[in-house]
């Protein structure tokens, strides 16, 4: 079943906004997505009608708030097909989730000379926490290289995995849109005796996700890229892995018992959720998940493949060799993230010109500087699409790119 995009657009108040009498063309969902009324209403309802703290308090409102939070956790677990609801840990964002894994699992399991394998297309959130561990513990980092077409080069995978303790790979590149073969890498990692982690920040919002099919031990993603609010992220891990990990932050909620002599940790998921959580945001994320389930993630993926194909075709037909799209050429092998270069116009200047047409794209290094170095560029312009985008948005993008010629096309 295909999506009714005009009906979807109507669910998003931000997309009704006009600037200079013209509509907004929002193509920056890889940075953050817009929010539907369902998410805003869920958070508003909590604050206005059911507001109390959670996991404590015998009064009915407190129980109601706890129910809302538990329901959101169950929704997220169902959305990624987690075998157990208590395997869903709420954090601040994907970055915090990855830092949790690095700090907790890393410090308990890694020592000098131990190997962690990353890829050249990782976001800084999946690089810097491991570099911090390298500084602290003297571990070794290895990098799976990328090919010319922006895919992982797995030809040397066995050598890279030899002796590895942990492998952490993005499921979908936030710059190239590349969908990586997580299952294949996970199987190889396990065969080498390593733990497998996926950064699914760009994956979970856009594709049907089943953690058991992906074969990973842990997976991180964030709420605000999947129609949810900022301030809530998720760490999913197998019960076995999470049980064996020491706590990350200490404080309220994460303890079973505290005496002057020490403490014991609470059960999952509370063990990793110290302090009052971002309750409203978690409830908002639960509503976002239900909204996406209502659309159907198969339909979401189908829509994005078809829109990505349209965008690649349109940009290629209109600009030919003047425009380069980075990453895989086949829409089926990528997500709706199009990093591009237009003539020799700097990405910052492109995005400035596009803004004049209310076309919102991101310009910069996309928190992936090592990838930029491998690609030999300082930055890229990136248009990224989601459920509320359609062909008119792509056409508006193309028109706006063309208008850059008015300023940068002339010979001086």
């Amino acid at each position: 079943m295909s999506l009714d995009i005009s009906a979807i657009k109507a669910d998003f108040p931000m997309l009704k906004r006009q600037i200079d009498g013209k509509r907004l063309v929002y193509l920056d969902s890889a940075a953050t997505s817009q929010k539907p009324n369902a998410v805003l209403d869920a958070m508003d309802n909590y604050y206005r009608h059911s507001y109390a703290s959670v996991n404590r308090g015998a009064y009915r409102i407190a129980a109601e708030a706890t129910d809302l939070l538990d329901e959101a956790r169950a929704s997220v677990a169902r959305f990624i097909n987690a075998p157990n609801v208590h395997e869903v840990i709420f954090t601040k964002n994907a970055t915090e989730s990855m830092n949790l894994v690095a700090h907790s699992w890393g410090r308990a399991n890694l020592g000098a000379g131990d190997v962690v394998v990353l890829t050249e297309m990782e976001h800084h959130a999946n690089i810097v926490p491991w570099q911090m561990l390298r500084e602290a513990l003297d571990i070794e980092l290895r990098w799976i290289p990328i090919t010319e077409s922006g895919e992982l080069d797995l030809s040397n995978l066995d050598v890279l995995l030899d002796g590895a303790k942990l492998v952490s790979v993005t499921a979908m590149s936030n710059v190239l849109g590349t969908l990586n073969p997580i299952r294949r890498i996970a199987d190889a990692a396990h065969a080498a005796g390593a733990v497998m982690v996926a950064d699914a920040s760009q994956y979970v919002p856009h594709l049907p996700t089943d953690v058991t099919e992906l074969g990973v031990d842990a997976m991180v993603f964030t709420g605000h890229k999947m129609l949810g609010p900022t301030g809530v992220g998720v760490l999913w891990g197998t019960t076995e892995l999470l049980e064996a990990m020491p706590p990350f932050l200490g404080g309220g909620d994460m303890i079973m018992q505290v005496t002057k002599e020490g403490f014991t940790t609470n059960n999952l998921p509370h063990k990793f959720e110290a302090g009052t959580p971002n309750i409203a945001e978690i409830i908002g994320l639960g509503a976002a998940v239900k909204y996406l389930e209502g659309l159907g993630m198969d339909a979401v993926r189908e829509h994005e493949v078809s829109l990505t194909a349209y965008a690649m075709r349109t940009l290629t037909e209109r600009f030919g060799a003047d425009l380069t799209i980075h990453g895989p050429a086949e829409p089926a092998g990528r997500g709706g993230v199009l990093s591009f270069a237009y003539k020799d116009v700097h990405p910052h200047d492109i995005s400035q010109v596009l803004d004049q047409h209310n076309v919102c794209v991101r310009a910069g290094h996309h928190c992936a500087k090592p990838l930029m170095q491998v690609m030999g560029v300082g930055s890229t312009a990136r248009a990224s699409m989601y459920v509320y985008n359609d062909e008119t948005d792509v056409d508006a993008l193309a028109d706006a790119i063309e208008s850059a010629d008015d300023i940068f096309g002339m010979e001086i």
Binding site: D20, H346, P347, H348, D349, Q352, V353, Q356, A363, G364, H365, K369, M372, G378, S379, I407, F408, M410, I412
Partner: protein, 154 residues
């Protein structure tokens, strides 16, 4: 609303397409500093040959970035070449004053104006203030210049 013509003035695009003093100087004797804009990945390298009298005899700039950061670097190099370190600092103060988004900063007479230093081509960058996100692009090379002077205790 500020139009793009306020930002992309012809003189700016000229400096972007035909940057002045682009290149490298041998270090030492030249001073060298690198500046980064961590938000967008732009990089600027500034080289200075300062003689014993404190006169900037040679300037060179390298790196890569957008039209605003590159043209500003080009204009900066042209504006400080042959000037004393004190004059270069004064021009920098004037320029950064012009880049201030605070109205009071725009009206206030800065040290540079008191010295009656002409902003010349630099005044073309005044429109950048209307695009606050781009101010960092315009000031990157100037902050890198200050860094080079500071590193050498000049």
């Amino acid at each position: 609303m500020a139009g793009l013509e306020d930002l992309y003035k012809e003189i700016i695009l000229d400096h972007y397409r035909n940057p002045r003093n682009r290149g490298e100087l041998e270090t030492p004797p030249a001073l060298k500093a690198e500046g980064f804009n961590p938000l967008c990945g732009d990089e600027i390298v500034v080289y200075l040959d300062v003689d014993d009298d404190g006169v900037i005899q040679q300037v060179a700039t390298g790196g890569q970035g957008c039209s605003i950061s590159q043209s500003s670097a080009s204009m900066m190099s042209a504006a400080i070449k042959g000037k004393t370190v004190a004059e270069a600092r004064a021009i920098t103060d004037s320029f950064k004053g012009m880049m201030s988004i605070h109205e009071s900063g725009l009206d206030k007479e800065s040290a540079g104006n008191k010295l009656d230093l002409s902003m010349g081509d630099l005044s073309a960058l005044k429109g950048v203030v209307k695009f606050p996100v781009r101010i960092k692009c315009a000031t990157l090379s100037w902050n890198t210049l200050l860094q080079a002077l500071e590193d050498a205790s000049l």
